[in-house]
């Protein structure tokens, strides 16, 4: 079984995000980037399934500029067998990403597309769902457990009400939530092996994909700073304070 894992290069989760003075976005120059943590979880899941003998080949895919190679090398060090780099500079909207992933998924004849549930840069949480729609495939998002059984996958999902278990026919799209697994720490020999694996560069034109322009970022602003809280001594005091504010 061949699986595709999409991995995105994002500003590292430890970085203190700063907004550009003109409000056109966040500062990315000279800022540490790494693989989107949810994609790392998706990658780890694919590798574990391969180690269990359920998956035979893992292809890592990224979309974006030249630096995306670093992210793909990390994916290859995790255990992807080869990688595809959709090399396009500039902003890529979720629909564009979904179109590109769908095209690659079809071309490769993959059985599962694993993604993170969302990327921590724009938090769009759309690509997995859109890709499933474009491919007309079942989707199981926010997965906290994945079990493969021949032509089906049992996926436990984290939803507002608790956990929900779905059974989906393969091929399907699965997006990873935080508790699906804990990604491994990379080993130096695996980083060295990753250097010898192939990264194929393709463009939107090669894939026959048109970039979507359905979204326009008008302004980026920092979240409002939190005002100072009030310390209360007892539960009664808390309740009356909440009542006074009309919150309960």
């Amino acid at each position: 079984m061949k699986v595709l894992v999409s991995v995105k290069r994002v500003v590292d989760y430890n970085v203190r995000i700063q907004i550009k003075p003109d409000g056109s976005g966040v500062v990315t120059d000279g800022v540490k980037h790494s693989m989107n943590p949810f994609d790392e979880i998706a990658m780890e899941e694919a590798v574990r399934l391969k180690e269990k003998g359920k998956v035979t080949e893992i292809i890592a895919v990224t979309l974006g500029g030249a630096k995306g190679e670093e992210t793909l090398r990390t994916a290859l060090a995790f255990g992807a067998d080869r990688a595809i780099h959709v090399k396009e500079e500039g902003e890529i909207q979720p629909l564009t990403a979904a179109r590109a992933l769908a095209a690659i998924f079809k071309k490769e004849g993959a059985q599962i597309l694993f993604t993170g549930k969302q990327a921590i840069d724009d938090d769009a949480n759309q690509t997995a769902q859109m890709t499933a729609a474009l491919l007309d495939l079942p989707q199981a998002t926010f997965a906290s457990k994945v079990e493969l059984d021949g032509t089906k996958a049992q996926v436990t999902r984290e939803i507002d009400a608790g956990l929900e278990t779905l059974e989906v026919d393969l091929p399907a799209v699965i997006s990873a939530d935080l508790r699906l697994n804990e990604p491994r720490y990379l080993k130096l020999p695996d980083i060295m092996k990753a250097k010898k694996k192939t990264i194929e560069a393709v463009s939107f034109a090669d894939l026959g994909v048109e970039a979507a322009a359905s979204l326009k970022t008008i302004k980026t602003t920092p979240p409002p700073t939190r005002s100072k809280g009030v310390m209360v001594k007892t539960v009664d005091e808390l309740v009356s304070a909440l009542k006074a504010k009309g919150l309960v």
Binding site: E70, R73, A77, Y185, L186, K187, P189, I191, M192
Partner: protein, 388 residues
């Protein structure tokens, strides 16, 4: 001139920082308090294959250069473990180079892989009491006998000897009065640390409590000929090969510690509110920290230049020495500035900067003092007469 990391180098730095995040600052503080060797950390690095970063692939290493080793060790120190973390793996990462470069094929295969796997723990026994950096005068004597050598002598400042089962030992095989040049007649051995013949005495010191430093009293230690690295009498030449890489690694580690201190200080300055505003708003806090940042990054360029030259096979003695000097001096200033930024809290152990300050004094002093580096630069670069 290229000041960017390669993809490999970036991945090594990122992977190490992530790996080291398994070991919290509290872990290192606890080791500093209980003085127990960080076995968990060194084992995790061995298991993940990091110890062989600069060793050839034929003996189980990754075949990368000193540049990559420096990037790795810098990240190890920077992640919070400082010199304790770095020194706990220095032996395998760096000290097996003589075997790799000058050992026979049999010796390489026998000696290196167990060290990289973390099964053999090594110490590096070169320095002696009473001779300082005048290495050719060292007094430990290895007398040639049938099939091997009988060794007697003393060593000092030998790290990890409390837990090591192997040691790299430099000893005089031909007495000083019988050699043409004083650098001749020393030989290098890699052999068992036989505790029935070697008394290991702990030195109580200011910092890095979890990685022991020791005096060794060697009494009639038998070393088989098969454990001699390189030709008899070539020990000094072999050791010289490792001097520049050692300065490069120590410099890189010092910068890692300095960065860690500045980061802690900046975070504290952002969060600490006094007179209704963060103390980091004051230029009296900002400027010393900004200055330290600039100094550390400039020193890092010199250290990385030295590493790049070394890996290209070019002379790097001046750069390696200047890099170690700048790195250690500026890292010391960075740790001290961080401590002043935190005020009273900087003196409290739970804020971690006092530990960094205690540990950054190691690369400031070792493997060579700032004074001796300045002597070297004055003589080699400026053409001034030797002063000692």
């Amino acid at each position: 001139m290229n000041f960017s990391f390669t993809t490999d180098q970036q991945n090594i730095r990122d992977a190490i920082l992530k790996h080291c995040s398994q070991f919290s600052p509290e872990y290192w503080l606890e080791r500093d308090r209980d003085g127990v060797f960080p076995f968990e950390f060194s084992k995790s690095m061995a298991d993940a294959g990091w110890l062989g970063v600069a060793m050839p692939e034929t003996v189980g290493g990754a075949g990368l250069g000193i540049t990559e080793a420096a990037i790795m060790m810098q990240a190890v120190a920077e992640a919070g473990g400082a010199m304790t973390a770095a020194s706990s793996i220095h032996g395998p990462v760096f000290s097996m180079q003589p075997v790799s470069l000058f050992g026979t094929e049999e010796q390489k295969q026998r000696m290196i892989p167990p060290v990289l796997r973390g099964e053999d723990r090594i110490c590096f026994a070169v320095t002696e009491p009473n001779i300082g950096l005048d290495t050719t005068k060292l007094k430990t004597r290895a007398e040639k006998r049938e099939g091997g050598y009988l060794v007697n002598g003393e060593k000092i400042w030998i790290s990890v000897a409390q837990n090591a089962n192997k040691m790299m030992l430099l000893a005089r095989t031909t007495p000083l009065e019988n050699v043409k040049r004083k650098t001749d007649g020393l030989s290098l051995f890699f052999t068992d640390l036989d505790r029935t013949k070697i008394d290991v005495k702990l030195i109580h010191k200011m910092g890095r409590h979890a990685v022991d430093s020791n005096m060794l009293f060697i009494n009639d230690l038998w070393i088989p000929e098969a454990d001699r690295i390189g030709a008899e009498g070539d020990g000094f030449k072999i050791i010289l090969h490792g001097l520049n890489p050692e300065r490069i690694l120590l410099g890189a580690e010092a910068i890692g510690i300095g960065r860690a201190a500045i980061q802690r200080a900046a975070q504290y300055a952002r969060e600490r509110i006094v007179f209704d505003r963060p103390i980091g708003m004051n230029q009296g806090i900002q400027h010393p920290l900004a200055k330290c940042w600039a100094q550390l990054e400039a020193a890092n360029l010199m250290v990385m230049k030295a590493a790049t030259l070394f890996d290209k096979g070019e002379d790097c003695g001046v750069e390696a020495n200047a890099g170690k000097y700048l790195a250690a001096e500026f890292a010391f200033e960075a740790c001290h500035t961080a401590m002043l930024t935190l005020g009273g809290m900087g003196y409290a152990q739970e804020y971690h900067v006092e530990r960094l300050l205690r540990e950054v004094l190691i690369p400031r002093t070792a493997p060579v003092s700032p004074h001796m580096i300045l002597n070297f630069l004055a003589e080699k670069v400026l053409g001034l007469p030797k002063s000692y």
